[in-house]
């Protein structure tokens, strides 16, 4: 009994610690300067205002938003197509010798690469190709960075579908790819959708590549808008809160929509939740 009460108190305490900072961000985005610099600090603004969002809008919010959406969706489409095909190959075919294991491990090991080591060469490459400060440049970088994740996730999903099903279809005269498309692919759609959402989240919130490869609203994404509210001379607290809220909300919605696959996604498919 004592433990149950203690447990309830503990859980509520942790829940407050978890929720409060998020609520504080949203609250700040609706505060005037008077409220932001008010003592005591208040969770519910005395003079709630939407002007922070309006200011961001005139600052060019739409351009950042459009960039983020285009980059995230393009990255997801490319990585899903490229990654699923590779995953199918690794799951269904045997390469000679130990090459299945080798290729799989190589793909996994790219997760170890600190982005900082790739970002300098990538910047030089993009400059050479004239793709600095373009959405295309960012998409190429994100696609390369997310393909290993998609391969590893989709390989896990495809392996779980018995290959007999495809073989039956092939006996009936289907080609290999036709059998995959019409038999296995529909069965992995939930996993595929979850994987796609993970890649959307990853490119939506990525910061380092965006910082290096983009320079103007022509291609900069939302995280750049957030960080640019911190200038050399001052911090625009309200706008920063608003930009942060706008960046956060879609990610939260997406992340909770794939909660079932969260363990798998966050552990790179290593733990089957």
């Amino acid at each position: 009994m004592i433990w149950r009460i203690l447990r309830a108190v503990l859980l509520l305490f942790v829940a407050v610690i978890v929720i409060f900072p998020v609520a504080w961000l949203v609250s700040t985005s609706f505060k005037t300067d008077v409220d932001i610099f008010g003592i005591p600090p208040m969770l519910f603004p005395q003079h709630p205002t939407g002007s922070r969002y309006a200011q961001l809008w005139t600052y060019g919010l739409l351009a950042y938003l459009v960039n983020s959406v285009i980059v995230a969706i393009s990255t997801a489409v490319i990585t899903i197509v490229v990654g699923t095909l590779a995953a199918f190959s690794l799951a269904r075919f045997r390469l000679p010798g130990k090459w299945n294991a080798r290729v799989s491990f190589w793909i996994l090991s790219t997760r170890m690469f600190p982005p900082i080591i790739t970002v300098i060469p990538l910047f030089q490459l993009m400059r050479f190709l004239g793709l600095v400060d373009t959405r295309l440049g960012l998409v190429i970088a994100y696609a390369a960075f997310n393909v290993p994740f998609v391969v590893w996730m989709m390989r896990g999903f495809i392996v779980e579908i018995p290959r007999d099903l495809e073989e039956v279809a092939m006996v009936d005269g289907c080609s290999r790819m036709r059998a995959f498309r019409s038999i296995s692919l529909p069965l992995v759609v939930p996993g595929l959708a979850a994987t796609a959402i993970f890649t959307v989240i990853m490119s939506w919130q990525e910061f380092l590549f965006a910082l290096v490869l983009t320079q103007t609203p022509a291609s900069s994404t939302l995280p750049i808008l957030v960080s640019s509210q911190i200038t050399q001379y001052q911090i625009l607290w309200g706008q920063m809160g608003a930009a942060g809220t706008i960046t956060m909300v879609p990610v939260l919605v997406f992340a909770f929509s794939v909660q079932r696959y969260l363990v798998r996604g966050m552990s790179f498919g290593a733990v089957k939740g």
Binding site: P21, W24, A86, T110, I120, V151, S227, A255, A270, V271
Partner: protein
């Protein structure tokens, strides 16, 4: 088309993208780290291992390495302990368990950049809610991320807030995957709660712990976003991490050769540490499939 050609064809696009991501940067890094580039003229000069020699005697590099090590060590340890505790509590059966599980995952789902600005706002000095709260407890306000002695600790705190849920998530999945038989056997043998934890739960949870710690280590060793936004490496370089120092060297001072040489060291360190874990995981047969 024959299967033997099809299997390579399907792999090809992914392999090409991965070459862009791994092999090309590695080749570039090796080449660049052996050169020095004159920023004004763009002329490149081969300097052999001079960039690596420079690392050895660069106090700023070792400062960054030390900060990264401290950050990683404290953050991952605390996250593991807290995450394990939360996972153990939330495997017990009670009402509203699922609600709490969902709530506790929230911080992990935030974009790291957003977590950073949230705490930037909370840490505000005169008007921040953290100092106001300390005031209520009769404690004098701190400088948090703006103070040379508290900055690194303040960043670690953000990491703990954001990523303890990750440990919790993976360990919870690990706990749920443990079959009930060993516990029944332990009960029959009259094991206490603590003995059960030590001799049944922990050994069976090892793979999940290894994976969770490995993934966290890889991410904290490369920590960049939060530091860049919250402190920019200051004050007085007290929060300069390796990734940040490489970034500044490469993109603010355009010393590409030296920056890639340092990033190489970071890669080697990450790889060595990761491989220790991966070989343990192979022994536990996690990646066998």
């Amino acid at each position: 088309m024959s299967d033997s050609r099809l299997k390579y064809l399907l792999l090809a696009p992914a392999i090409i993208l991965l070459l862009v991501l791994t092999v090309y940067p590695l080749v570039f890094a090796v080449a660049a780290s052996l050169q020095t580039v004159n920023v004004r003229t763009g002329a490149q000069r081969f300097v052999g291992l001079a960039n690596f020699a420079r690392i050895a005697s660069d106090p700023l590099f070792w400062n960054a390495a030390r900060n990264t090590a401290i950050y990683t060590g404290i953050a991952v340890t605390v996250e593991l302990v807290l995450g394990l505790a939360m996972a153990l509590i939330l495997t017990e059966k009670f009402r509203s368990r699922n609600l709490f599980r969902t709530i506790f995952l929230t911080p992990m789902m935030l974009p790291p950049i957003v977590a950073a600005i949230i705490f930037k706002i909370i840490y505000m000095q005169q008007y921040g809610v953290a100092n106001w709260f300390l005031g209520l407890l009769g404690i004098k306000g701190m400088l948090w991320e703006a103070g040379p002695r508290t900055a690194l600790f303040s960043l670690v705190l953000v990491d703990i807030w954001e990523w303890t849920p990750f440990m919790f998530l993976i360990l919870l999945a690990g706990l749920q995957a443990i079959p009930t038989d060993p516990y029944e056997a332990a009960k029959v043998d009259g094991a206490t709660w603590f003995q059960e934890l030590r001799h049944v739960t922990f050994p069976l949870l090892t793979p999940a712990v290894l994976i969770a710690v490995l993934l966290r280590l890889m991410d904290t060793l490369r920590i960049f976003d939060q530091v860049f936004v919250m402190t920019g490496g200051g004050p007085a370089n007290s929060t300069e991490t390796l990734s940040l120092y490489v970034y500044q060297t490469g993109f603010r001072f355009f010393d590409v050769g030296y920056a890639t040489a340092m990033s190489f060291i970071l890669l080697v360190a990450t790889t060595v540490i990761s491989n220790i874990f991966i070989s343990r995981l192979r022994a536990e047969e996690v990646f066998s499939q």
